[in-house]
């Protein structure tokens, strides 16, 4: 009986969800700490140092503080939408965890449409951002929300085209199959341009600097979450970092061989550690980029997408298709 329970799909799902919830929150807190540490050391200062060893508990304390704060509703704001938006922004990000291949047997639900599911749901966040920006009844928030929509639409296309080149090579939308086919050679060596396009578009998708124009601090104060306080803001924050983890995890499994070691050499390290190591390395690069560059302007961002990224990704896709056909 118990074996039946353990093996049942439902048990697996519920356990998975619980693990995902815990992991997502802790991971986001860790990432915030990591971001502050990376930023600090790049800027020749130590970052958080006071709470816990090397400030490790700082973000946990911050989260507790955020939970204790009052949720302020601006005058004439759309009450329902205003409170719905932070929830809406966080839920789709969690769904992405369902199909992420942490290890050969560590996928909560190995769907044959896994890649599609992740991107379908990650697109959903833009709706929440729009809702939050609109409901705030604040011009800065609205401007940020509008920018966010335009940006996401523009960068979704090269992102998906880049993913498409990989999918064409594997003939599958399932993460485990994509990862398995990178056993000997990672796709980053086969598809370097697609990988670069994916990483740039993913940065834009997650609204990270230098593409953080929806929340452009020096222009729009805080962009779409200007009016959010307490845990409302906390959820946006959490979603941003979880989203960052997801895009990097997807990049890891699409281009950097997922749980596989380099050229099939795993050094006896379990696959899940390979996966996490590579994901965090990618996250580190995103942070490094963020703390180096100034922000691009809105129209330049769009130009870059439509004039450089999309033609490039289309060309890459066509070349991939032709080469595959010839082989």
């Amino acid at each position: 009986m118990s074996e039946g329970l353990l093996g049942s799909e439902w048990f697996r799902l519920i356990l998975g969800l619980l693990i995902v919830l815990g992991f997502a929150s802790l991971n986001a807190l860790f990432l915030v700490w990591l971001e502050r540490k990376v930023a600090g050391h790049i800027q020749l200062r130590p970052g958080p140092m006071e709470v816990g060893p090397h400030g490790l508990l700082q973000t946990i304390m911050d989260a507790i503080k955020l939970m204790g704060k009052e949720l302020i509703l601006p005058a004439k704001a759309d009450r329902k939408l205003f409170f719905l938006a932070p929830v809406l922004v966080f839920m789709p990000v969690l769904v992405g965890f369902l199909v992420l291949p942490f290890g050969p047997s560590m996928i909560i639900r190995d769907m044959n449409l896994g890649v599609l599911l992740v991107f379908a749901f990650s697109t959903f966040t833009v709706l929440a951002i729009l809702a939050g920006g609109w409901a705030s009844n604040n011009k800065y928030a609205l401007l940020g929300a509008i920018r966010s929509v335009a940006q996401n639409v523009a960068y979704e296309i090269p992102l998906l085209l880049a993913v498409m080149s990989v999918v064409l090579m594997v003939h599958s939308l399932s993460f485990s199959e994509i990862v398995t086919s990178q056993k000997s050679v990672w796709f980053v060596f086969v598809q370097p341009i697609a990988c670069l396009i994916y990483l740039i578009s993913a940065t834009a998708e997650t609204n990270r600097a230098p593409f953080d124009i929806p929340e452009a601090e020096s222009e729009l104060v805080a962009g779409f979450h200007t009016e959010y306080s307490g845990m409302g803001f906390g959820l946006f924050f959490l979603a941003e970092y979880t989203n960052m983890f997801i895009v990097c995890a997807v990049a890891t499994s699409l281009f950097f061989g997922g749980w596989n070691g380099l050229f099939g050499i795993s050094l006896g390290i379990p696959g899940v550690f390979w996966f996490l190591f590579k994901t965090y390395a990618l996250i580190f690069i995103l942070m490094w980029v963020r703390w180096t560059f100034p922000r691009v302007r809105f129209d330049q961002l769009m130009n870059f997408s439509w004039k450089v990224m999309i033609p490039l990704s289309l060309a890459n896709l066509v070349v991939t298709a032709i080469v595959l056909k010839l082989i």
């Binding site: 020749l44 011009k139 104060v221 922000r295 691009v296 302007r297």
Partner: protein, 373 residues
């Protein structure tokens, strides 16, 4: 039908209140922006939030009592304003300044100019969204503050110059620290070039943005690096050399197109020129007194007036003092460069994006409390 169109047009344009509390208005500035989408239709800067009545204070104080006020006008170049005020009073009363004091003042002023420009550099990149150069610039600026602290005892509002000299002589430690700073900066310029000047994103954010041409600058009395960026090599240190600037060899860097990128270049090169000036001044630094003994405790200048111009970090500044023979001025007017530099915004901003507005505002380098006085 026509009426309906009008109402639609009316709704298209909305007002955004940029400031007084906003992350990048450099002090308490408010700009009323009429926007069409993200494009600016009309801009109206509103100032005066930091008005302290320095000019009225000047009338009610003795000349030397106004000394601490001078550095508080433009707190980023406190030494320069302090220096400028002392120049004005010395001119009015006719006080001879020892050579050594002149050199010390020039060194201190140029150090302050670099620190002001470094702060501008950092905050400007921060306005554009890059946070890290800000802290690198502050790291360098900290060296200057340490140097000035070691001689004036203060880090921001120096109050270092006195009528007829300076409060405290410089020692070998000061000279060594300054030399070490100059040496350090030689390697830093290359880093700034790699990190910012050559950066494609930065260039795209600033090239062709917020063009102030010569005619516009003349109309609004724009001075300083903003004027030099449009190709006019006008610098008070050159045109009316005060102290020992005529004995020092330095260039007045100019740009060509007057856009934000040129303003950046000009300020960047100015920092390097200031380093050159300091280097020469240290070489030429003579011995002797640092403060003349002949200044009476109670100044009694002759009746008359003086208009003493000097080059602050932001441009042509001047103290206009009218004396009625009493120990305090009858009228004390301060010409501040940021006034004209900000005034021009109402003509530069329309037609640009909100993001550009921030870029332009940062690039003209205003200090609002200086305007508010």
């Amino acid at each position: 039908m026509a009426e309906q169109d009008n109402t639609q047009e009316y709704r298209r344009i909305y007002t955004l209140n940029l400031g007084p509390q906003h992350p990048s208005t450099h002090g308490v500035l408010r700009i009323l922006l009429d926007l069409d989408g993200e494009y600016i239709v009309k801009a109206d800067p509103v100032i005066g939030y930091g008005h302290r009545g320095h000019e009225k204070m000047g009338e009610n104080r003795q000349y030397k009592q106004f000394l601490p006020n001078a550095s508080r006008l433009d707190y980023l170049s406190g030494m320069l304003f302090n220096h400028g005020f002392v120049l004005a009073v010395e001119k009015l009363v006719g006080i001879e300044v020892p050579e050594r004091a002149k050199y010390i003042r020039v060194i201190a002023s140029e150090l302050n100019r670099i620190s002001s420009h470094l702060l501008w550099f950092g905050t400007y990149i921060m306005d554009l969204g890059g946070f890290t150069p800000f802290l690198y610039a502050f790291d360098d600026r900290e060296q200057i503050l340490d140097i000035l602290d070691s001689v004036s005892g203060s880090r921001l509002t120096y109050s270092y110059c006195r009528f007829g000299g300076v409060t405290r002589d410089v020692d070998y430690k000061f000279i060594d620290m300054t030399r070490a700073f100059l040496k350090r900066m030689e390697t830093r310029w290359a880093d700034y070039d790699d990190l910012v000047t050559k950066n494609i994103i930065f260039i795209h954010r600033t090239r062709g943005v917020g063009i102030i041409d010569e005619e516009l600058a003349r109309q609004y009395g724009v001075t300083g690096p903003n004027l030099r960026a449009c190709g006019v090599g006008f610098d008070v240190r050159r045109s009316e050399p005060y102290e020992v600037y005529d004995r020092l060899d330095f260039e007045v860097p100019t740009g060509s197109s007057g856009d934000a990128l040129d303003r950046y270049y000009v300020r960047f090169k100015e920092m390097q020129q200031s380093c050159r000036i300091i280097d020469q001044a240290l070489d030429q630094l003579p011995g002797g007194d640092f403060l003349t003994k002949k200044v009476p405790q109670k100044l009694a200048p002759p009746k008359g007036e003086v208009y003493a111009a000097f080059e602050s970090a932001r441009g042509l500044s001047a103290f206009y003092l009218v004396s009625d023979g009493s120990p305090g001025p009858y009228r004390c007017h301060i010409r501040v460069p940021s006034f004209g530099n900000l005034n021009v915004l109402s003509e530069v901003l329309p037609g640009t994006l909100v993001a550009d507005a921030i870029s332009i505002l940062g690039s003209i380098d205003v200090v609002i409390p200086e305007i508010d006085r």
